[in-house]
């Protein structure tokens, strides 16, 4: 045997010994405590849920902060930090009393003055908060546990606003932080919620760590979405950001993570076939797609051109292209999304029927002269990328000259703020989506705002009638009257404003290992109530 052969044999023997040794290293790690490992939908970059509307920061907010009121899985609002509340006979004074035993993570007691300061800060940033502040004459601290909101006139959405489930959620912070500029992120994370944020272990872009707050006093009611008892059954929760879907799937299959919030649709069949993995839709409202047109420039400054798009959109084509699995989507024309109390089919005929001749006729009546349509295509977000391509084809099929401009989402978010003409660096069309929790209310749904250049969301629809109906809805307390207003509003949206075209509703399943129990049904993923066997 030659020297080289002998060395090769030695190396092979060394490798055979080393690999099992390496493989066994690390086994038994972290057995001492219960650690729930999550792959979240995005990386947590900002820590202040009032400063940003990003969903990942909202989810972080629910870990560390608590709310005065909270929505259950049917979106009914219940007291959370509040023990009792009463409304005066004239409907203008709301008096809230806090529960006993509420403590900040720094050990101080939660006081009424903290809550007043927190509501004020939230009221500067959130749409529903601003609306509430418009109706508020004064907020008064009565004693350490009691405060009042005194209104100028009765307002039907006080409790709904304080218990809104999605961004920006009115989270409570200590007064010393809540008094800071609402347009600057708070420098510390001090909440009173069920988990404590471990800033020293935070690695932006990789890992976020929370530990159980042993001082937290859960409510006695069973947990239901954001409401009820937030009973923490693990010692520690780790959010491990894994941007590559294949790696996230492999990590879940290999037991390195316990739950993956947003599995890619094409990986679901593989995951569902694995006996160790469970897949379920936990957000019953799902997500609504928006095809947003620019109302400032031709041709979509003309209502007939926008209606032409309504007649041309085929929701089924979009949903097939972006989701694929029919069990995970449904064609739903309602602006306030299907499955909510505000769902109505009034005025939806144009979106339900696909009539290209009618669309062409409307386009002609709108005076479309073959101008180039700039469609922004965000190639780094698969759902929006797919929807953009479907829209491009659809617009071409009704005779429009479409230029698809590929870009990343960051570029799109910058470009969509441009009010210039499309030929000068502006735009005509882009796509986005919104969760059902954010679109189900006429006040919370920013996409339908007709506030024009000053107040409306990008695309800047302008319609005073729409704005008045949204105000009427906010003032109204009677559910039947509210529903009547919603019907009028939706009719107006379809017949005139067309603020966006809804290209369908889909449902994102969450996948987790079968040794987990207690995953809550909710539009927002919550990590209390979950246990690991």
């Amino acid at each position: 045997m030659t020297t080289i052969s002998r060395r090769l044999r030695s190396a092979a023997v060394a490798l055979a010994v080393a690999v099992p040794m390496l493989a066994s290293a690390g086994v038994g790690d972290a057995l001492a405590e219960k650690v729930l490992r999550i792959v979240p939908h995005a990386d947590l970059k900002n820590l202040d849920p009032i400063w940003t509307t990003a969903y990942i920061t909202r989810n972080h907010g629910y870990m560390v902060y608590d709310t005065l009121f909270a929505s259950d899985e049917n979106l009914d609002v219940h007291p959370q930090m509040v023990d009792t509340f009463k409304v005066s006979g004239d409907g203008k004074t709301y008096t809230f009393t806090l529960r006993d035993g509420l403590k900040w993570h720094d050990g101080a007691m939660v006081k009424a003055e903290d809550c007043v300061a927190s509501i004020k800060r939230w009221g500067k940033r959130d749409g529903m908060g601003q609306k509430l502040m418009d109706f508020t004459a004064e907020m008064k601290v009565v004693d350490d546990k009691t405060f009042q909101i005194i209104l100028n006139e009765p307002y039907g959405l006080v409790i709904e606003s304080l218990g809104k489930i999605s961004s920006n959620v009115p989270f409570m912070m200590p007064k010393r932080l809540a008094d800071l500029d609402a347009f600057k992120a708070v420098p510390e994370v001090v909440g009173s919620g069920p988990f404590i944020f471990k800033k020293d272990e935070w690695v932006p872009g990789s890992k976020v760590v929370y530990v159980k707050n042993n001082d937290y006093k859960p409510r006695s009611e069973p947990a239901s979405a954001a409401s009820g008892g937030k009973v923490v059954k693990v010692d520690r929760v780790e959010w491990l950001y894994i941007p590559d879907p294949a790696t996230a799937m492999n990590a879940l299959v290999n037991g390195e993570v316990d739950l993956w919030e947003t599995p890619a649709p094409d990986m679901l069949p593989l995951l569902k076939a694995n006996a160790d993995i469970k897949a379920a839709v936990i957000d019953p409202l799902g997500t609504q797609g928006w095809l947003r047109m620019n109302h400032l420039h031709p041709p979509f400054n003309n209502p007939k051109a926008r209606q032409a798009v309504l007649w041309a959109v085929n929701q089924e084509e979009y949903l097939q292209a972006i989701i694929g699995d029919p069990t995970l989507y449904k064609a739903c024309a309602a602006y306030f999304i299907c499955g909510t109390p505000n769902e109505t089919q009034i005025g939806t005929e144009a979106l339900k029927a696909v009539n290209l001749d009618k669309a062409k006729q409307l386009l002609k009546e709108a005076g479309y002269k073959g101008e180039k349509i700039i469609l922004m295509q965000p190639t780094d977000i698969p759902v929006l990328n797919g929807a953009s391509l479907v829209t491009a084809q659809m617009l071409r099929s009704i005779g429009m000259d479409v230029e698809v401009q590929a870009m990343d989402w960051s570029t799109l978010t910058s470009r969509r703020a441009e009010k210039k003409a499309p030929a000068d660096g502006g735009w005509n069309v882009f796509h986005t989506y919104s969760t059902g929790a954010d679109v189900q209310s006429p006040v919370a749904n920013i996409g339908i705002s007709g506030g024009g250049v000053e107040k409306a969301w990008f695309g800047w629809p302008t319609d005073d009638v729409t704005e008045k109906l949204r105000d009427d809805y906010a003032r109204e307390a009677d559910p039947a009257e509210k529903k009547a207003i919603v019907e009028k509003l939706q009719t107006r949206l379809f017949d005139h404003l067309v603020p966006y075209v809804n290209y369908g509703q889909w449902f994102q399943p969450v996948v987790w290992r079968s040794n987990l129990s207690g995953v809550l049904v909710s539009p927002v993923p919550f990590f209390w109530n979950i246990d690991i066997k």
Partner: protein, 313 residues
């Protein structure tokens, strides 16, 4: 020699300044707005304007550049627009995984590739030579992410020997560290093994035809000494050069490998920052990469004079 080193070190300053200026301009002339990303998808336009102003992004470019450069000169790389954490701290958090992956890849590649190249040259024209060259062609042709996924499938999912993803610091124990770094090192290393083995073979073949090798053999020198002492030492300059180029190429490979194996290194930090337009992080990381590249090149240039006494500076 010392004068050369001092001159090269001083030359780093204008290089870094040009890099800083080009990177700054490229970033700020690229469309995208961190304020819009911070505010979130449902923020109102006026909120974005306020955040932009609050971050100083509404200032003219020359003011933003001079403010940033002045901070850098004082050793302050700035603060992440998004997380509010100092860039130096973020780089510090990410440096170890990237450094560990880079060093292990280079070590793995050199330790495997140079003997392979020498062996192929020694057995030139035989099945050994051809097999090694087939491997080299494959190593060049198969992308890093494909090798990564295959390794994960076989060694993590099927055999369960290694974790699918993540990184364990050396401080957490050497064996857990080795487990976490083994597959990424092999995945990233294959292309460098191929590259270095080819160059080693070619360089050795050239040297093995020299008269002094024939002389060494003629005077009865054993073959191992002929190969190691006479041939390899003289073939080392091109090999060292290609290792240096390999280190520069590693920067790109590390980005892909860190994504596939979810290693929280500088590559991932850069990608995330680019997607969000977190300017201070991108500028800071590129400065660090540039400095590393310049220093590695300097070290390689200096090493030539140790390997080949004919080279003098």
């Amino acid at each position: 020699m010392y004068a050369y080193i001092a001159k090269r070190t001083l030359a780093v300053i204008p290089v870094m300044l040009v890099v800083a200026l080009v990177v700054f301009l490229l970033l700020h002339l690229t469309p995208g707005d961190p304020a819009a990303v911070i505010a979130g998808d449902y923020a109102r336009p006026e909120d974005i304007v306020r955040i932009r102003k609050q971050l100083g992004l509404d200032e003219p470019l020359y003011i933003q550049f001079s403010t940033w450069l002045w901070s850098v000169l004082r050793g302050d790389l700035g603060v992440s627009i998004f997380s509010n954490m100092p860039v130096s701290k973020l780089i510090g958090q990410r440096l170890e995984p990237t450094l560990a992956l880079s060093v292990s890849t280079i070590l793995f590649s050199v330790l495997i590739a140079v003997p392979m190249g020498v062996w192929a040259a020694w057995r030139s024209g035989t099945w050994v030579d051809r097999s090694i060259m087939v491997f080299a062609v494959l190593g060049f042709s198969v992308p890093v992410f494909v090798i990564g996924y295959v390794l994960i499938y076989v060694f993590s999912l099927k055999f369960g020997w290694f974790p699918v993803q993540g990184y364990k610091a050396i401080g957490d124990g050497f064996l857990p560290f080795l487990r976490s770094i083994a597959l990424p090192t092999i995945a990233l290393g294959v292309v460098y093994v191929a590259l270095i083995a080819r160059i080693s073979r070619a360089s050795m073949l050239e040297v093995l035809n020299e008269d002094y090798i024939r002389t060494a053999r003629a005077k009865g020198q054993v073959e191992r000494k002929v190969m190691m002492r006479h041939a390899l030492k003289n073939a080392a300059v091109p090999i060292i050069t290609i290792i240096g180029i390999g280190i520069a190429l590693l920067i790109g490979g590390v980005v892909v490998t860190e994504s596939v194996f979810n290693i929280p290194g500088l590559g991932r930090l850069t990608i995330d920052a680019v997607l969000r337009r977190d300017y201070p992080i991108i500028q800071g990381v590129i400065l660090v990469f540039s400095a590393a590249y310049v220093i590695v090149n300097l070290l390689i240039d200096i090493s030539y004079s140790f390997l080949d006494p004919r080279i003098r500076y």
